[in-house]
Amino acid sequence: MASGETGINLVGEVQPAETFGDRVVHWLDKHASSVFVLPAMIIVLVMSIFPLIVSLYLSLTRVKIAAGGFDITFVGLVNFNKLIFGREQRHTIGKIGEPTTFGWVMFALVVLFLAWGVTRLIRKRTNMSFGAGLGATGLFIIIGLGVGYFLFNFYTIEGEPPEMGFLGMLAWGSFCAFVVMRVLVLIFNRFLPPTVKGVGPILGRLVAVTIALYFAWITVHTFTTLPNAEGNPTGIPGTIFITLYFVIFGVALQYLIGLGLALLLTGDLFGKRFFRITFLLPMMITPVGVAYMFRMVTNTSIGPLTPIFRNVFGVGGDYSWAAQAGSARVGVMLADVWQWTPFIFIVLIAALEGMAQDQREAALVDGATSWQFFRYITLPQILPVSTTIILIRLIEAFKIIDLPFVMTRGGPGTATEPMTLHAYQAFKASDFGGSAAVAYLLLFLATYVGLNFINNTRPLAEELS
């Protein structure tokens, strides 16, 4: 790979006994750590960082077709503003409705869970003095409230408060507060007393909690809402929350089914290989092919499942799962589960096959119950690999596009439109700036979820092991 450069570099420091090949090897060996990692770094830098920067620039511009090419105008944060607070707010974030009791119960559960998480976190970080913690939290709350209040007033137009409410503004406010304080900590880190040094991570968790709270609030106001007079729900989820729906439910189901099948297929069974190969197949089919396949199979008038729809579900010939928001989302999500369960299945099978045999035998000799066996022998061994595989699936799931685009084209309405499709729609209409802005929102969201997943599950996995 780098032999050309090495040849030049080595001229002059030749030892008589060495052949040219030896010299190359010697040089490479001296710089082994760089030689191993640099090709990957350079490829990723060129092929990913460069487009990333260009995309970021595009997201701050309006691109117009003009004579002789494209006319690029810098417009600042207009595209993001349009998505979050402006014309596209309803599309991106959703329409707020009146939540059902079930929605409120779910919200209460989320709040309790988050409160538990925060308490646990603060108790663990004991190196920070109480006063410093209180001060940091206070400062955080003051900046967050201030920015939130400012935003709330700024977007209250003609006495009408913004649709996402004060809590939404508070989330954005707290995000700003986080950025400000993180920068302050970075700059003044060396002057801070040791008791305050742990403030950075705490701040990060606080902002994560605020955003989670905000997401939960929007979710119950868009997904679980009371119907209006015509029987249609009052709340409509936006593309951010539809993406999260596919990611969370899709990956959870994939993991559960994949784990179940993997556990069943580790023992001695007749036809084990046949089952394993069969279960692998869905992953091997191109996603667009899978999408068309599911459209064929689930067609309610000419598809093979028509008798089941009619006789089992009793929905008759005039029903279509694609016509209702709820069933359309489930349909797309199930197709995703069908395709990607094998990925989790195969990796878990490998992990289970590799489990230490002696522990297994010892446990069985001791007469452990199945549950004990799973909890104390199997689970600790597959948890680390589980976190890796779920992270990979999470990241891929955020980019879901082929399935909804082919199966429902994002419809009915925008009920199955994830953010990638949102970006693609903007792109198709030559709104390159808007498209890049959606893509960047998705990047923030994916990074936020991915980082929080890693930060919170890795320690948990170690604890359980």
Partner: protein, 545 residues
């Protein structure tokens, strides 16, 4: 373990590489900016030296004539006019449209020595691919066959070749045989000829003569009648397989053709004073016409049709409804000319459909919008000057058809033109339009007049008269409604209108809210793009300036 750090040298090397790559990309951007300047200066000099230019243009034309004569010679069996010339053409995927191009290519290749290379892409991705290719001076394709509604986006920045001189010099083309709508409106943008039509597209309604007759119903003249018929015959068995079939099949999916269907229903309400009135915006100030009782009514009818169609109607597009029509499962459908030849397809259409497909001009309305009061008013001699039996019809030129254009910076324009002219010439196209699988629909007078061709293709004489009569009546209507052809028309129709209509069908909006939402988003987009420019472009498409 060895603890090593990345060498600074390595970092610098990486940076140099990245910067080099970046800089390799930059000239492109800079050049584009410069080109804009050059373009502007060129336009200025052009206006100053018009007199000199005229002579040059004449010379060019003479050359063209010579070349066209050469082709004629070649076809008579002489030397090869375009020996070794490679022509790359980009179009839509599938048997239709790209199929006939592929089938006719070998004959053309044999006659001229050119090599035709047809590349096709899914419809959803075609627009962007053409845009990116046409914008590039070293683009890959010489010709495009695309939806004629896109012309403004490609022609306004000057990506496409002016075909006027070519067509004028080409007598074999029989340009005057092409019907006025396609000749004067569809293929031109701001008075310049950019495209050669290969396909004539506008909407009509098709009905099953046997089903309506059995129910004692007449073909629909208004959309209210259409709805009533759909309701009356829904659930009957129409193809003898014992299953209940559907009253009306109109695709309603998002990213399908819903935005055209909605305007086909709305056209009769919105436009009554002739083609120049336009059906999308107020011609004085670009106020969207969609936020009106007429459009709301159309939305309501469109949604009311959902229960009388196939169960997944909100998730299928026109391709699927065509399959259903051929299988004999629909009593009514709204479609382009394609249904005619598809119905007589002996392999894929059931006998009931082959024998009983009736065609009727796009239904209209007995009430039309009075734009002064903003209300729907009953038809009379003033409000509906073009009414037939008290019904205002406004046949909608949805989509406008697949047309061929040549990239301005291509270096084999003559050869590319020769191929498109070959496809468009009566000898070829008059046969192609009678074959369902080509996707080409009639656009020449001779194709309407010569019914013999259609009978030879397998249509009964009565059906041919009925089908061509309805098409001709629609095309010659003085109240024909033009499709939206202004810059960024894609965003108005295929993004904003399409999304909101889909949300309306899903129950997220009431009809009034949906109409208001479309109007406000259209207004916002118009302001973004420049209201005056958009208004000027819109007026030009209607022939007002």
């Amino acid at each position: 373990m060895n603890i090593k750090r990345i060498k600074f040298g390595m970092l610098i090397l990486a940076m140099a590489l990245v910067t080099a790559v970046l800089s390799a990309c930059e000239p492109q951007v800079v050049e584009v900016e410069k080109e804009v300047e050059i373009e502007v200066t060129r336009i200025v000099t052009e206006t100053e030296t018009v007199v000199e230019e005229v002579e040059v243009v004449k010379e060019v034309e003479v050359e063209k004539v010579v070349e066209v004569e050469k082709i004629v010679e070649v076809e008579a069996g002489g030397e090869m006019a375009f020996d070794g010339v490679e022509i790359d053409i980009l179009t839509i995927a599938g048997d239709a449209i790209s199929g006939p191009l592929r089938q006719r290519a070998p004959d053309f290749e044999a006659a001229t020595g050119a090599k035709i290379n047809i590349v096709d892409l899914p419809f959803a991705d075609l627009y962007n691919k053409i845009l990116l290719d046409a914008a590039d001076p070293n683009g890959e394709f010489d010709g495009y066959v695309f939806a004629v509604t896109w012309t403004p986006d490609f022609a306004a920045p000057g990506f496409l070749e002016d075909l006027g001189p070519y067509v004028e010099a080409d007598e074999d083309l029989q340009w005057d045989d092409i019907t006025p709508f396609f000749r004067e409106f569809s293929s031109k943008f701001e008075g310049t000829l950019y495209t050669i039509p290969l396909d004539g597209d506008f909407h009509q309604v098709y009905y099953r003569m046997d089903v309506l007759e059995a129910a004692g119903l007449e073909a629909p003249q208004t959309w209210e009648e259409y709805l009533a018929i759909a309701e009356a015959v829904h659930g009957q068995d129409m193809n003898g397989d014992g299953e209940a079939d559907y009253g009306s099949c109109i695709g309603q999916t998002r990213n399908g053709q819903a935005y055209w269907f909605v305007h086909s229903i709305a056209s009769g309400y919105l436009q009554s004073q002739g083609t120049g009135q336009g059906g999308f915006f107020d011609t004085d100030d670009m106020t969207p016409l969609v936020d009106s009782p007429g459009f709301v009514k159309a939305l309501e009818i469109y949604k009311s049709l959902t229960p009388f169609g196939p169960p997944d109607q909100t998730n299928i597009d026109v391709g699927a409804t065509r399959g259903l029509w051929q299988a004999g499962r629909c009593a009514l459908t709204l479609d382009w000319g394609d249904i005619g030849p598809l119905s007589i397809d002996t392999v894929n259409a059931v006998p009931e459909v082959q024998a009983n497909t009736g065609t009727v001009v796009l239904p209209g309305s007995r009430e039309v919008m009075d734009w002064d009061s903003g209300e729907l008013v009953a038809c009379d001699a003033d409000t509906c000057p073009y009414a037939i039996d008290g019904v205002n019809h406004a046949p909608f030129g949805a989509f406008g058809g697949w047309s061929a254009a040549i990239r301005g910076s291509s270096d084999v324009k003559d050869a590319t033109y020769a191929f498109f002219a070959y496809m468009n010439a009566p000898e070829q196209s008059n046969v192609d339009v009678t074959i369902g699988s080509t996707g080409f629909n009639p656009y020449r007078q001779s194709q309407f007049l010569n019914r013999q061709l259609w009978v030879e293709a397998g249509m009964s004489p009565a059906m041919a008269t009925n089908y061509l009569g309805a098409l001709e009546a629609g095309l010659n209507s003085p109240n024909f409604m033009l499709d939206l052809r202004i810059p960024n028309g894609q965003q108005y129709q295929q993004v904003i209108l399409d999304t909101v209509v889909s949300q309306y069908l899903a129950g997220e909006f009431t009809a009034e809210e949906a109409a208001a939402e479309i109007a406000s988003q259209w207004d916002e987009l118009t302001d973004e793009l420049g209201r005056d420019e958009q208004l000027a472009a819109y007026r030009k498409t209607l022939g007002l300036d």
